[in-house]
Symmetry: C2
Subunit: 257 residues, 2 copies
Amino acid sequence: MTLVTEATTEPLFCAGGERPLPGMSLQAWLAERLRARILNGEWTPGQAMPAESALAAHYGVALGTMREALRRLVDDGMIERIHGRGTFVRRALVGMSALRFFRFGGQALNEVPHSRIVERAVVEAPAEVAEALAMAPGAPVLRVRRLREVQGRPCLLERIWLPLPDYAVLVDDDPDAWGDLLYPMYAARCGLTVHRAVECIEFGQPASAEDAALLELAPEQPCAVVTRSAFDVGGRCIEWRVTWGDARAFQFTVQLT
Amino acid sequence: MTLVTEATTEPLFCAGGERPLPGMSLQAWLAERLRARILNGEWTPGQAMPAESALAAHYGVALGTMREALRRLVDDGMIERIHGRGTFVRRALVGMSALRFFRFGGQALNEVPHSRIVERAVVEAPAEVAEALAMAPGAPVLRVRRLREVQGRPCLLERIWLPLPDYAVLVDDDPDAWGDLLYPMYAARCGLTVHRAVECIEFGQPASAEDAALLELAPEQPCAVVTRSAFDVGGRCIEWRVTWGDARAFQFTVQLT
DNA sequence: AAGTGGTCTAGACCACATC
DNA sequence: ATGTGGTCTAGACCACTTG
């Protein structure tokens, strides 16, 4: 009598009364099952998952138990719940521009700075890049240098490394058509969604005199350097980038509770 | 038959069936009531609150509802729950040393750096300090300058401002007896507990040639500057401090999910 | 053994979004 | 009107900590 309206790649029900619970709580086990199904691509980012009632019925658990399992995934940043609409696998990160670490004069809030692609080349991955992207050293990667401008003034310089062949479609097309936001472009053109990222902030100098000139800074001018590894929902690193900006414009706030 | 074992400063029960719920959920209202009682000092930091079952009975709500209210306070960092032991008002922050922003050579993990009080004086609060501490400009404050050393090498210099008369007992005693950790000392000597803090990280130079000399840095050497406002559980700012450290040793990691 | 928080159930009803 | 997540109830039992 139960209609299974969803394709599933796992046993429909853990019958026989025996569930794999070797000390793991039911809600934790449910969360892991759902996480695996998301990672398996059963529900893709932005797509709605079945209703909590449907999931609870599917697994034969109480509603409250399934709610707790879903809450774990929300806390993980894996899914997002919207009252009255449904439960969704989270899309790419937003509002994570390195620009949020800086205060550039006259910068309007939420203003997306203009992007200019300064360089795009297929190169062999240097050791550092290869390690970050979990590739063999020397493997082909797409290297991009991008300058970001606020009100016509250069403020951030980014060096970005992208693993090939995942980003192959970006090798030969027109970079001017990429737009100002890369992550939505990655999703649309390459089917790659950034789900999580780690940033490391340090102080240093521009990587070269040419980079300093692009930023209109003296070569020895101190810069804040933001190194970011970006991962997809499966935990694979799909972008590595380093961003430079004038240290005098750097400002970052931390809440401690 | 119900024994009221706790002193309470509010009506014991919201009788008459009418609870102040002008669109607020019951659990949110409960959380606010409990928050007010904590801020009122009914349960002090480190002390156990009544059991969730007792609280639920006291307010005449279901256990699960009270659990949700308590969960909100946990998420706020207001309380802490320990399985089998109880629910506790959170103590002072730990592991919030500005040292966590730096990597100094040979620094062992969790090593508490040695502290040396370089200056202690009662001064009139400058405008900036007065604003941070919500005092009148020129009001008396205790100014402390502290040098922190790792393996005998100076690494951080702190300028700390403390509102008077709250810290009056520190004006004339022996600073060498303060120890390496100030916040536990504040709690023990002055009855002041840091519950929350906000830090702002910027880039700059030492405040004076003398400060640079204390850090054994050139006066023009770039430094990371960490400005911290520390608040008690009631939201009052009870400490304002600025910390300088060599920018070359600065390293900070941010997780984005 | 007693007391605590953590898990789980099986409902009911409410608030929000969409068609 | 229907379907979604959010709130609330009233229990039961489990896991952990302490005396």
